[in-house]
């Protein structure tokens, strides 16, 4: 056979899962080619975005010396429950968050992902951008032995392919690791705007002492029209990341335009003052796989493993994803290293990748929250009902009416009963608890 392009391993995708895999394999001594369809790693990537450093430390213990392009540490975080004209806020701010490096930073992905990919390149991985993988190549036994790309003579061969293609899981399906496409009830559509604002102004508005403080707020209720979903407001170095996400099915069934929902949220009387005078720099959209533990693809086949969004590795409740992706990429890479040592690339051998993840927080958390999406889907009014209720109750509680407090308490109770019976509430809470306990 004429000199075909061969490596020890191929990684499809330049996001966190793919880069973690490429980095760990390159450090382990394998020849690695990482293929990214964008003009640079991260060109297609967007998230809220809070990034958790524990996963980065796991693959790059000296990451802090390498000056990652973080925006702001998250030193205050919490939840806002919106009704159409009010907000009830539960925020947590602590000196404990001020240690450096912090546990969480806001990040802009078109800045962060190229930096992360450069660390893998430094470790010896070959990063090829502007190249779309079009299909997997298989041998007669059905083992994945490489990929075809949209470059002329673009076949590349390796005994192991790690798919980190993201939520649009075309290759994962072609590999036969997942039977059918994700239904719109198990995928969230999120839209986001990045708004620029001078750091001093930003810090004054959000009560931040300087560039080493930042806020991450997750917002429920009226932000998503009371439908299952969340909105977010995060501070970046010189700007704000603001967005709203709901199950795709909600947009379909209610014929909602995502950008209208975002604009409505930005115009909420509690939100608007924070944004005043800011400039819109970028708009984007992304799907989030929320199929949960029970609908994940198989994680390994003959000659192939899948990691990150492509495998549905998201914990929506805690807005985690990139950290799961990095840990999974690393676990897949370690399995690839062991496979090379043994010369065994069968699905049976590669199944140790899944065993490693089952032992880590990645699949433990996914298992615990396996019913979360179903809970929200089966209780569509949950967020709206309770966010409104809490705000109405707070208004009664904080207002002096000249009526006895005992009457005020009774009013609050009857507010509750007007909207949801006690058995209804008990049932909602029981379902929520079940969804949280796994």
């Amino acid at each position: 056979m004429p000199d075909r392009l061969s490596y020890d391993a191929i990684v499809v995708g330049g996001g966190p899962a793919g880069t973690a895999a490429a980095l760990v394999m390159a450090r382990g001594g394998l020849s690695v080619i990482q293929i990214e369809r964008g003009r640079f790693a991260g060109a297609k990537n967007i998230f809220g975005g809070v990034f958790y450093t524990h996963a980065l430390a796991d693959v790059l213990p000296d990451y802090w010396e390498r000056k990652p392009p973080f925006e702001r540490p998250v030193t205050e975080q919490g939840y806002w429950m919106l009704s159409p004209d009010s907000a009830l806020r539960i925020m947590h701010k602590s000196e404990q968050y001020r240690q450096e490096p912090a546990g969480a930073y806001t990040v802009l992905r078109a800045r962060f992902d190229p930096w992360f990919a450069a660390q893998a390149v430094e470790a010896g991985a070959l990063l090829i951008t502007r190249t779309t993988v079009t299909r997997l190549l298989k041998d007669a036994r059905g083992f994945v032995i490489g990929v075809d790309t949209d470059r002329p003579d673009g076949q590349v061969y390796a005994p192991i392919v790690i798919i980190a293609e993201g939520v649009n899981n075309l290759l994962t399906r072609q590999a036969g690791l997942i039977a059918s496409d994700l239904p719109p009830r198990y995928v969230a559509l999120s839209v986001k705007e990045y708004l620029s604002m001078p750091p001093k102004e930003l810090q004054a508005r959000f009560g931040l002492a300087g560039p080493r403080e930042g806020v991450a707020i997750d917002i429920f209720g009226d932000a998503t029209l009371g439908l299952p979903g969340t909105a977010f407001l995060y501070t970046d170095q010189a700007g704000i990341s603001i967005g709203v996400g709901m199950l795709l099915e909600e947009f379909v069934c209610h014929r909602l335009r995502p950008y209208d929902v975002l604009a409505r949220f930005k115009n909420h009387p509690v939100i608007r003052p924070y944004l005043e005078g800011s400039e819109s720099r970028e708009y984007g959209a992304h799907l989030i796989p929320e199929m949960g533990y029970d609908r994940m693809p198989r994680l390994a086949g003959n000659g192939v493993m899948v990691a990150g969004d492509a495998a549905g590795m998201v914990d929506a409740l805690h807005r985690e994803g990139t950290n799961l992706a990095i840990i999974a990429g690393k676990a897949a890479a370690e399995t690839a290293l062991a496979a090379h040592e043994q010369g065994d690339f069968s699905a049976a051998f590669l199944s140790r990748y899944r065993r490693d993840l089952e032992a880590s927080f990645v699949l433990k958390d996914m298992k615990q929250y396996r019913h979360m999406t179903d809970f929200l889907d089966s209780t569509p009014g949950f967020m709206g009902t309770y966010a409104n209720l809490l705000n109405d109750a707070a208004l009664r509680y904080f207002t002096a009416h000249g009526i006895p407090k005992r009457s005020m308490e009774r009013e609050i109770v009857s507010l509750l009963r007007e909207r949801r019976s006690f058995t209804g509430i008990a049932w909602d809470m029981l379902k929520l608890m079940r969804a949280m306990r796994g």
């Binding site: 990537n45 159409p84 795709l248 950008y259 819109s280 720099r281 708009y283 569509p380």
Partner: protein, 111 residues
């Protein structure tokens, strides 16, 4: 599509939704348009003609889909931000969906 029956939206909430021109949002985006090849398209226009709610006109975050005066669906693939919603949510799976060729399509500056 779903086992759940969707309650209609509260009319007050419906009325509170603004009508945003998405062009004002995507004007900030950097695209490298593949002039020779569209990465998304309609498989069968007849199916779209029969599709009554045409949800793609609403849910696509870049408003890529529009109806022309002959009732055909037009696909402005140039504005696509490659999220994949239409691939998944078209009720008839009638969207031909590929990734753009390498280097083409949207390129986020912030992300």
């Amino acid at each position: 599509m779903s086992e759940r029956q969707h309650q209609p939206l509260d009319p007050a909430i419906e009325a509170s939704l603004p009508h945003v021109n998405v062009d004002d949002l995507i004007v900030c985006l950097k695209y490298y348009v593949d002039e020779t090849q569209a990465h998304i398209g309609i498989k069968d226009q007849h199916i779209c003609a029969e599709c009554d709610p045409k949800p793609c006109l609403a849910f696509c975050p870049a408003h890529v889909f529009e109806v022309d005066r002959h009732g055909h669906i037009m696909v402005s693939y140039q504005a696509c931000i490659e999220c994949g919603s239409c691939r998944i949510a078209c009720p008839f799976h009638n969207v031909e969906w590929q990734l753009p060729r390498g280097g083409y399509g949207v390129a986020y500056k912030y992300g």
